[in-house]
């Protein structure tokens, strides 16, 4: 990386003071810098930072958005959350869905990427087919899968019957709704993960493999000591983005189950939506959002810390 021409040594005096004492050339340079970051910064400010702060304020209030002003109630929303059995159920559902979906999906995506990185006939076609769910809308995916999961008429009952297994009543059985959602989220995200892994695989220099082979490394050793470590930044990226994505699942739940039956498939963001726009509990929804924000932040910080041990750049 080249030296940043705008970078100043850390020992410089504070910014405003500096502005006043600067030469004309430097002042123009500074203004150019501010002008260049302004569009992005202002948009972020208006659409991300301000709503976040406003959401924090709302989480201390009771409001339905119908009466003109929110009522300040302090920490009541957070206290209510601790006693809300549905909140805990929803949190568990979300973690269950995220863990199940991410672990299986990443393993499958890596396996597929390894296979489709070989010289196979028609491999571009396979790649494209596997990638296609990525650009299909969630609502359409949910509608089609709702039919596939139908106990008596669905497609999925066929492969199960070949194995001599009965078809679970996927979307109507409290024990099967989350596994059903895991299947859909895997199917939906697999292609994207695979493509990212493929890009990572193709970025590994062929010389490394050659050199290792010369040294007598077998296939497993190549995979274990070259592929996995050199893919680790990619794996790390996918884990972090997948977790954030899994905590925000909404559309397929909204269309397929609306959180039912008996809250068995109610996920976090759907519960937030329900509170804000169906129950008119805007303050409570804001508090739920703040907790989700903190959970996401904590997980990401933890991941970053942990990554220093296993990610090799």
């Amino acid at each position: 990386m080249g030296k940043n021409p705008f970078a100043k040594p850390a020992s410089q005096p504070p910014f405003l003071h500096q502005m006043l004492g600067l030469t004309r050339y430097h002042r123009v340079e500074r203004l150019a810098f501010l002008a260049l970051i302004a569009p992005n910064f202002i948009l972020f400010g208006v659409f991300t930072f301000w709503p976040l702060l406003y959401n924090l304020y709302l989480s201390f209030t009771k409001w339905n958005m119908i009466v003109p002003n929110p009522t300040w109630i302090g920490l009541d929303n957070y206290a209510a959350m601790i006693q809300d059995p549905i909140f805990w159920r929803v949190l568990w559902n979300t973690i269950y869905l995220a863990t199940g979906s991410i672990t299986i999906r990443l393993v499958m995506a890596l396996a597929l990427a390894l296979v489709l990185n070989q010289k196979l006939a028609g491999r571009d076609v396979y790649r494209a087919i596997i990638f296609s769910p990525t650009f299909t809308t969630g609502a359409a995916i949910a509608l089609v899968w709702a039919w596939i999961f139908h106990k008596d008429l669905g497609l999925l009952r066929l492969p199960l019957s070949w194995l001599g297994l009965p078809s679970p009543n996927w979307l109507a059985d409290v024990n099967w709704t989350i596994p059903a959602l895991i299947i859909v989220t895997i199917w939906r995200g697999l292609g994207y993960d695979m493509v990212i892994f493929l890009a990572g695989l193709q970025g590994i220099p062929a010389e490394l493999y050659e050199a290792a082979r010369v040294d007598g490394a077998g296939r497993w050793a190549l995979f274990r000591h070259i592929t996995l470590p050199l893919l680790s930044p990619i794996t790390f990226f996918l884990i972090v983005t997948s977790i954030i994505g899994a905590l925000q699942v909404f559309d397929i739940v909204a269309v397929m189950t609306q959180g039912g039956p008996m809250n068995s498939s109610k996920v976090y963001v759907y519960y937030v939506y329900e509170n804000a726009f169906k129950f008119f509990k805007v303050g409570y929804a804001a508090a739920l959002s703040m907790v989700l924000f903190l959970i996401t932040l904590a997980i990401t910080i933890f991941q970053t810390r942990l990554s220093r041990r296993w990610v090799h750049y």
Binding site: I66, V67, F135, T137, H150, E274, F277, K278
Partner: protein, 464 residues
């Protein structure tokens, strides 16, 4: 890698185009309330900013000799036939006089419209009139969002409220004040598969009572057939479960809740009704309607011999069924009472006085006998006034559409929905109650007690 990207791009464009083709909703009109249209239907007007209702201080001096027309904005729900009929009525209204000009803005399904209204109230840019799913009206009225209409109704430009069918006008009131006028009203009716009835040796009519309904279900059920057949699939989901479940509770003599919002679901008659439903499920002659198209899909796919649906779904159900459809009254038990559904039109309190008066003129026009007869004939919704029922056109229409006559005949049994339904969280609680009874097979007394507690808590927190 380049080849890969190339393939991806080609597919991207291809699938994008396909997705684009698939985006608009199928042409079949969504069934009128309270069955909500699928959450995927994105209204074309979704991005349209709400017209500002703020008064322009410089215009419309009240005593000016040549007055510019008062412009008002009406937010409507419902697409397809009921949507077009509203547009046509507004056009007629605008053409008939010059003092008031109304602009109709489509805002999607009932829940979508309600969300936009919520946002509009927060942003303080509300329309002058809104269409509301009737149980939602009291919450908005209670929070001061709606203007009381009693003075308009009784004033010089008023209407004869006695002309409206009492069961349909009843839920336009909150706290003794009139806050809305009935418009697109519907009731649940029983649909049955005449072919399946014949094959099961049943008479060609709907069951009279819930006991007979149970008996019919037993005779219709064929567990060994592929796919299996049952008597009836229970409506699930937050928008529909409560409506049909209320009818069962009313039939068994429960009022669900009283006018002081005291929840009565833990009373013996309510528990008996819940147990009755669960017994049918346990026996396997009734199943939870959890398929992708819900209970209606089970009926039109000939997996369930009977179905409860909105009167407004009549055309839809008959046109999507590959068999002879019969209709009848909802079953009775100790009594026959049917909860009214559908929507009302209300005026926003944020609108300035002269706009409210203009809005009333439009509301009066929309609920007039002629407008109502037109709307009913175009859509299959219920007539709302005695004069509309008795009009020559309506009588002719019913002769031509005997199925529709059943719905009109059932009007004598309609009643407003239970008071507790006005609490926003209630429909979700009812939905979970129906799930507990039919999916979880939770003991009826326990489930009903839990629901009573949950509804009471929700009422205390958000409505009291």
């Amino acid at each position: 890698m380049n080849k890969l990207i190339g393939t991806m791009l080609v597919l991207f464009v291809l699938f994008g185009a396909l997705a684009g083709c698939a985006a608009p909703e199928p042409t079949k009109a969504p069934p009128p309330a309270p069955t909500r249209a699928p959450a995927t239907s994105v209204p074309p007007a979704a991005t349209k900013p709400p017209a500002t209702a703020a008064p322009a201080p410089t215009t419309a001096p009240t005593a000016a000799p040549v007055q510019a027309p008062v412009k008002i904005v009406y937010w409507r729900a419902l697409s397809g036939a009921p949507g077009n009929a509203q547009e046509e009525l507004a056009k007629r209204f605008n053409a008939a006089q010059k003092e008031v000009q109304v602009e109709v803005q489509f805002q999607g399904t009932y829940p979508e419209l309600r969300r936009k209204l919520q946002a509009a109230l927060a942003a303080r840019t509300t329309p002058d009139l809104v269409m509301l799913d009737s149980p939602q009206m009291p919450y908005f009225a209670k929070n001061g969002a709606l203007a009381p209409l009693d003075d308009f109704a009784k004033g010089a430009d008023g209407v004869d409220l006695k002309n409206f069918i009492p069961g349909l006008l009843g839920d336009s009131y909150y706290d003794g004040k009139l806050y809305a006028m009935p418009f697109a009203r519907s009731t649940p009716i029983l649909y049955y598969n005449r072919d399946m009835f014949k094959a099961a040796g049943l008479p060609d009519r709907a069951p009279e009572t819930w006991e007979e309904f149970y008996d019919f279900c037993k005779k219709l059920t064929k567990k060994d057939a592929t796919p299996a057949r049952v008597g009836y699939a229970v409506q699930m989901g937050a928008t529909t479960a409560h409506w049909y479940f209320q009818e069962l509770l009313y039939a068994y003599g429960s009022d669900v809740s009283d006018d002081k919002f005291k929840v009565l679901l833990d009373q013996p008659e309510a528990i008996a009704a819940a147990k009755f439903l669960q017994d049918m499920v346990k026996e396997g002659v009734v199943v939870p309607g959890t398929g992708p198209d819900g209970a209606q899909g089970e009926f039109t796919n000939q997996r369930a011999g009977m179905h409860f649906g909105s009167t407004g779904s009549l055309v839809n159900i008959i046109s999507t069924s590959k068999f002879q459809v019969g209709v009848g009254f909802m079953p009775a038990a100790k009594r026959r009472q049917v909860p009214i559904g559908g929507s009302v039109i209300a005026v926003l309190s944020a609108s300035p006085k002269e706009k409210q008066a203009a809005a009333w003129k439009f509301l009066k026009f929309m609920t007039s006998t002629e407008s109502n007869v037109y709307f009913v004939q175009k859509t299959g919704y219920m007539p709302i006034s005695t004069s509309a029922v008795n009009s020559a056109e309506m009588k002719e229409f019913m002769t031509k559409n005997p199925a529709f006559k059943v719905a009109v005949d059932q009007l004598q049994f309609v009643r407003p929905q239970a008071s507790i339904i006005a609490v926003p969280e209630s429909t979700e609680i009812f939905r979970q109650l129906v799930e507990k009874l039919t999916v979880g097979l939770v003991d009826p007394a326990t489930a009903m007690k839990e629901a009573t507690a949950a509804l009471t808590k929700a009422y205390n927190e958000s409505f009291k």
